[in-house]
């Protein structure tokens, strides 16, 4: 548990950092960044809360087992989406230009960016983002858990 200044700034910044991280994941196929970068930003938000409030307060908000489940969902989603295109090849982009989900034709030239394009890439970005945020978040969480355990002994 840190000082009141740190906790107040954390309360203000926490939601913004999370939303920015999810924005980076969501716009991975249009702007710089993607699943890994957005997941790292979200995990840094988790780390900020963990530093400010201490492990004992945070452990009721996010469980380590929940993060493990999220990480597995990310990995399975990535491989599953890759296998869905196996009718042509592994990792085949079967949604692109199909008119369905994320299926609008790609706009050529300078444009503001259409979020509804590029097929399976946004879904894979979400899978990678989930895996990275859960993995890095559980790394920090485990570090805090081990240190608290060391204090007790």
């Amino acid at each position: 548990m840190m000082s009141k200044i740190v906790r107040t700034i954390t309360n203000i910044l926490y939601s913004s950092i999370l939303i920015f991280g999810f924005y980076i994941i969501m716009h991975g196929h249009l702007t710089p960044g993607g699943g890994f970068q957005g997941g790292a930003v979200v995990a840094s938000g988790i780390a900020l809360v963990l530093i400010a409030y201490g492990y004992d307060t945070v452990k009721s908000w996010m469980k380590k087992s929940n993060l493990s489940v999220l990480e597995s969902i990310g990995a399975l989603g990535f491989i599953g989406i890759a296998f869905l295109g196996i009718g042509t090849t592994f990792f085949y982009n079967f949604l692109a230009n199909s008119g369905g989900l994320f299926g609008d034709p790609t706009v050529i030239g300078i444009n503001p960016g259409n979020l509804d394009t590029s097929g399976v890439l946004p879904l894979m970005n979400w899978a990678v983002g989930l895996k990275v945020l859960a993995g890095l978040g559980s790394v920090v969480l485990l570090m805090a858990y081990g240190i608290r355990k060391g204090d007790e002994e």
């Binding site: 980076i24 790292a40 995990a43 920090v140």
Partner: protein, 91 residues
């Protein structure tokens, strides 16, 4: 190249040299501090300036990753480790 473009490129080069010099200074500070919390903060400053340098070198993708991992997460892990051990390095 126009005169204006030359001025801009010279300014950019000066900014890059300044950033690199400050990166070297903060890295030396991170090694030489005996207060480990100050050393960790210096390391975070090094990472942040490195991500700024990546951004100037037209690699915003790498800059986001460096700012997220290098400046935020490793600092958090180091601060947790300092909380678990001692703050001052013994001579």
């Amino acid at each position: 190249m126009t005169n204006f473009g030359k001025v801009i490129s010279v300014i950019e080069e000066i900014i890059q040299i300044l950033i690199l010099l400050i990166i070297i200074a903060t890295a030396i500070m991170a090694v030489s501090f005996k207060d480990l919390l100050a050393a960790v903060i210096s390391l975070a400053a090094t990472s942040l300036l490195l991500s700024l340098e990546f951004y100037i070198l037209q690699a915003p993708d790498v800059a986001i990753a460096e700012a997220g991992i290098g400046a935020a997460l490793t600092t958090a892990i180091f601060i947790l480790a300092i909380k678990g051990t001692v703050r001052r390095e013994e001579l």
